[in-house]
């Protein structure tokens, strides 16, 4: 046999790398958790985690940080998926944090619960004594993320210090922490948006229906199409209209924009994404538009 027989395709390579990371964390931490939003990246992450331990069950629960500002289709999908995969779901609710006085709801038209999630997330990590939290973030998403480690250390306050990161060489990860500290782990670090979609197609993974073109009442704000849901605070000068749209990312419904699209199948969606000239977050996330360093600042505080 020749050596060329022993080459892997890029998806197989990425899959092998992600599984190695997931197993390493499960072996070296006491209480990991997988952050699951119901979005495309977290469904890929869940599938990889399932493969990492098959035929045994996932050795950790999944957690959803629920802003309360959801697309109903995504919550329905979340519950069904969790049941199909047979994993335990922990829900950390931003509404509970608000009710407990831990955070204050933002005011004004652009009020969003996106930033408040950080407090809810950190409180839940502390409450459940999770020491490692898997996230679906990718380095191609945003330039602060391009510099974050696969295993990213967080201090007692959940903060990320970009100038003081642990070097990562080969496939060796330093997993040592003290009580009260934790790590965020990003097994999809080296995946691109297109890799995620190719993998979804290859694995025939189900997605929430909002990823495909559908009719929806929307309104325009800051050049983005937002769903006309109650918590979007649509003003009188922002008239709603019907449009055929799909979502490229799934986040807090009050600040996640839709794109106009007629792509109803996976192949059509992938064709559109391959041809697009705008980044995923630039097109659909109002939270990243507030400044050049918006993501960096949120990450330092302990955001996903």
């Amino acid at each position: 046999m020749t050596q060329s027989d022993y080459l892997l395709s890029q998806l197989d390579l990425l899959e092998a790398e992600s599984i190695q990371i997931i197993r390493e964390i499960a072996a070296e931490f006491e209480k990991p958790v997988l952050l699951f939003s119901g979005g495309k990246d977290s469904i890929v992450l869940l599938r990889l985690a399932q493969k990492a331990f098959a035929p045994a069950a996932l050795p950790f629960p999944v957690m959803h940080v629920d802003t309360g500002h959801n697309f109903p289709e995504v919550i329905e999908f979340r519950d069904r998926t969790v049941e199909e995969f047979g994993v335990r779901l922990v829900v950390a609710s931003v509404q509970d944090s608000i009710d407990a006085g831990r955070v204050q709801e933002e005011t004004g038209r652009r009020a969003s619960r996106n930033r408040l999630q950080t407090v809810t997330l950190l409180d839940a990590i502390e409450e459940h004594a999770f020491d490692a939290a898997f996230g679906g973030a990718r380095r191609d998403e945003e330039k602060a993320r391009a510099k974050e480690r696969v295993v990213s250390f967080r201090d007692d306050f959940g903060q990320w210090d970009p100038k003081n990161q642990r070097p990562e060489l080969w496939n060796l990860f330093n997993t040592r922490i003290k009580k009260g500290e934790h790590v965020r782990v990003f097994p999809l670090s080296n995946w691109t948006e297109l890799d995620i979609w190719d993998y979804i197609r290859r694995e025939e993974l189900e997605l929430p229906p909002i990823y495909f073109a559908h009719q929806r009442a929307v309104f325009e704000r800051d050049g983005m199409l937002l769903a006309d849901l109650p918590y979007a605070n649509r003003g009188d000068d922002e008239p709603p209209f019907e449009a055929t749209v799909r979502y490229r990312t799934v986040g807090d419904a009050s600040c996640t924009g839709a794109v106009e699209s007629s792509a109803t199948s996976l192949d059509e969606v992938i064709d559109e994404i391959a041809a697009t000239r705008i980044t995923e977050r630039g097109q659909t996330r109002a939270d990243d538009r507030s400044s050049e360093a918006a993501m960096e600042d949120r990450k330092k505080e302990g955001y996903f």
């Binding site: 080459l7 599984i19 098959a54 035929p55 069950a57 330039k143 070097p167 080969w170 330093n174 994404i273």
Partner: protein, 444 residues
């Protein structure tokens, strides 16, 4: 800070025809770039990203806006500077990872800053690289830093080196200037025993020989940089001879209703070397017991064989007490079991120095053990390769030959034979920081 540049505007026809579905059959090349402040590294990366359509309109707008705020022309270097401090200070702090793809390959760039104080970052970026691009400014010729970059890439056993002789436009595309750099560099590389070495004359600013062959260098017959990246043969870089399977995790399904799974016991890990096949006789270390592979479970079900870097689960014919940190190999081809290790160590922390009798934690494959520095044989000057045998310590970004005593046996190979069973990291037990990285020179 790189000189202000203008964004390239042309897209080669070959790249424009990308069918996204082709990505399924592509392979992947990881490369590291090394270069210093002024040699146009960011411009070169910016051009590769831009010409392969990996730069999006909103990213370009953001760069244009920031450049305009500073009164500059569009500066593609801003594409690769991610953190606020980097943009404010005009420096690159850390390894940044970038992604682009052509119809042939997906590429992961580890973009490492070239200043001397960032040896740590280049070592990190090079550790997983199939190829390293070293930039040399054609006007300046081979500098101390070029030697440093070539040395580090060789130390980390990067299989392919590309010397991009940049700013050819500023030397009127002069062949003699180029040839002088080729000769100087080749002479130095021979001393290093560097692997596959390729030279390409480029102008990152004008795009000469970056994506398309340039009419300005008719005397150069080789490929463009992108063509080389797309075609360089990496299949034979992997060690397919020495079977090495560090056990990462033991899979035992609990409380299952499926009676077939009651006796399931699988040893999960990533193949670090060799080809494993069902039916193969293997040896377990440290016990030395031999058994046979009955099943190999891949991510998508049973497979007849596994090779690096697949993540698989092995099932074995005999019940042996196997746990994380153990190694599976072939009875007649085993790694060395060693507690005394000779290694080249790169020191990575400003907090403390490596000195004889320093106590550290050593993580190697899936095993972590206490270790003590027995001896610092010499400190290596990474610019001149001079060995300072009088040195008593290694400080941040210094590299030296170190003897270590490990509290438990490591199943190790020489780093030049296998990066995954020959590399280790050092961790400080008090601060939990990663304080060093080592490449095993001789085991035992």
């Amino acid at each position: 800070m790189t000189a202000p540049t203008t964004a390239p505007t042309t897209t080669p026809a070959a790249l424009a025809e990308t069918d996204p579905r082709d990505t399924r059959t592509m392979d992947l090349l990881r490369f590291a770039t090394a270069g210093s402040v002024d040699d146009g590294k960011s411009t070169l990366i910016g051009r590769l990203l831009h010409d392969s359509k990996a730069v999006f309109a909103d990213q370009l707008e953001s760069v244009e806006r920031t450049s305009a705020d500073r009164g500059e022309d569009t500066n593609l270097a801003l594409l690769t500077d991610g953190l606020r401090a980097e943009r404010e200070q005009g420096i690159t702090i850390d390894v940044a990872y970038r992604y682009f793809a052509t119809p042939r390959r997906k590429f992961i760039i580890a973009d490492t800053p070239g200043h001397i104080q960032y040896t740590r970052n280049m070592v990190t970026g090079a550790s997983t690289a199939d190829l390293a691009i070293i930039l040399v400014d054609a006007r300046k010729g081979m500098l101390e830093q070029s030697r440093r970059h070539a040395f580090l890439a060789t130390l980390l056993n990067v299989p392919h080196l590309v010397v991009a002789v940049n700013k050819m436009d500023l030397v009127d595309y002069d062949q003699d200037t180029y040839q002088k750099i080729v000769d100087d560099f080749s002479a130095f590389a021979a001393k290093l025993k560097a692997g596959d070495l390729t030279f390409i004359p480029v102008s990152a600013l004008n795009g000469d020989n970056v994506v398309e062959p340039s009419p300005n260098t008719p005397w150069y017959r080789g490929p463009s940089l992108l063509h080389h990246l797309e075609h360089v043969h990496i299949a034979s870089d992997r060690n397919l001879i020495d079977v090495r399977f560090p056990v990462q995790y033991v899979i035992r399904p609990q409380a299952t209703d499926d009676p077939e799974l009651h006796d399931y016991r699988g040893y999960a890990g990533q193949v670090a070397g060799g080809v494993l096949k069902t039916g193969d006789e293997v040896v377990h270390l440290p016990s030395g017991l031999t058994t046979t592979i009955t099943h190999i479970d891949g991510p998508n079900g049973p497979v007849p064989e596994a090779h690096p870097p697949m993540s698989v689960t092995l099932r074995l014919a005999d019940e042996i007490d196997i746990s994380r940190g153990d190694m599976i190999a072939r009875p007649n081809n085993r790694p060395k079991s060693v507690q005394d290790v000779e290694a080249m160590v790169c020191w990575m922390t400003p907090d403390q120095a490596l000195t004889p009798r320093s106590k550290v934690l050593l993580k190697h494959t899936t095993q972590t053990a206490k270790a003590m520095v027995k001896e610092l044989h010499y400190r290596l000057d990474v610019n001149t390769l001079h060995r300072d045998e009088e040195a008593t310590a290694l400080e941040l970004n210094e590299i030296g030959r170190v003897g270590l005593r490990v509290a438990a046996p490591l199943f190790a190979d020489e780093y030049t034979r296998n990066r995954l069973t020959g590399g280790f990291i050092l961790i400080d037990e008090a601060t939990d920081r990663t304080i060093g990285a080592g490449m095993i020179v001789s085991a035992g």
